[in-house]
Amino acid sequence: MVKLSPLSPFAGLLPREVGSLRVTEVDPGPVHWIAPYRSGLEGTAEALGAAGFDWPAPNRWTGGASGRLVSVGPGQAFLVGAVPPEIPGAAVTDVSDGWAVAALEGPTVREVLARLVPVDLSEQAFGADATARTLVGHMSASVTRVGEGFEVMVFRSMAGTFVEEVERAARSVAARG
């Protein structure tokens, strides 16, 4: 019998170091897209609040090591790294396998991302609890500030392109010395 073993989205592509930029794969655990029905936002926030998660403001995330609730659109959030409770007022979709997640760290991380992401990621504009649905090159992405670095989510099918684009940007930043 053929035995299938799972491959992670960045298998064979990450980790990678270019100049002083470190790019590593993140296993986010379960990822659920929580989209409250019209007039279901209050009940959704309540159900998640009872489970210890505060509904995030636009462009913000809440939580911590035990799971993050990340704003990803008008009245929508991703619960990353935790299984959501029963939420009667929302459409909850398991999207764990649909996303590739990478952590970018190092002193040049903002310079590298500035070449790809059309959002101001500076310390002043993009604080410790900031997140943005935006672009990485031409790819739709979710960029989240985590500690001193960033976690970037792209569609799993884009994992190869993502690594290529980040590497090219990192190389040209490194070449400037």
Partner: protein, 84 residues
Amino acid sequence: MRLPCPHCGERDLREFTYKGADLPLPEGPDWGPDWEAYLHLRRNPAGETRDLWYHGPCGSWLSVTRNTATHAVAESRPAREPGS
């Protein structure tokens, strides 16, 4: 050029897709000058225009009123909400 998304705030033009003029639908199903104007006639103003834009990253359809001569944006609201 930058456009404000009511959810995400001000964002770069690269994140948006132009979706055409935002015009009120003519009344009634019968063909006539109103429908022809709705489908075919555009003013191309040097001044105020109201258009539909799609903010891809957050999935919002927006109705944006802006000035083509000054780039000033007078209003940006979710297209699903009733307008002024």
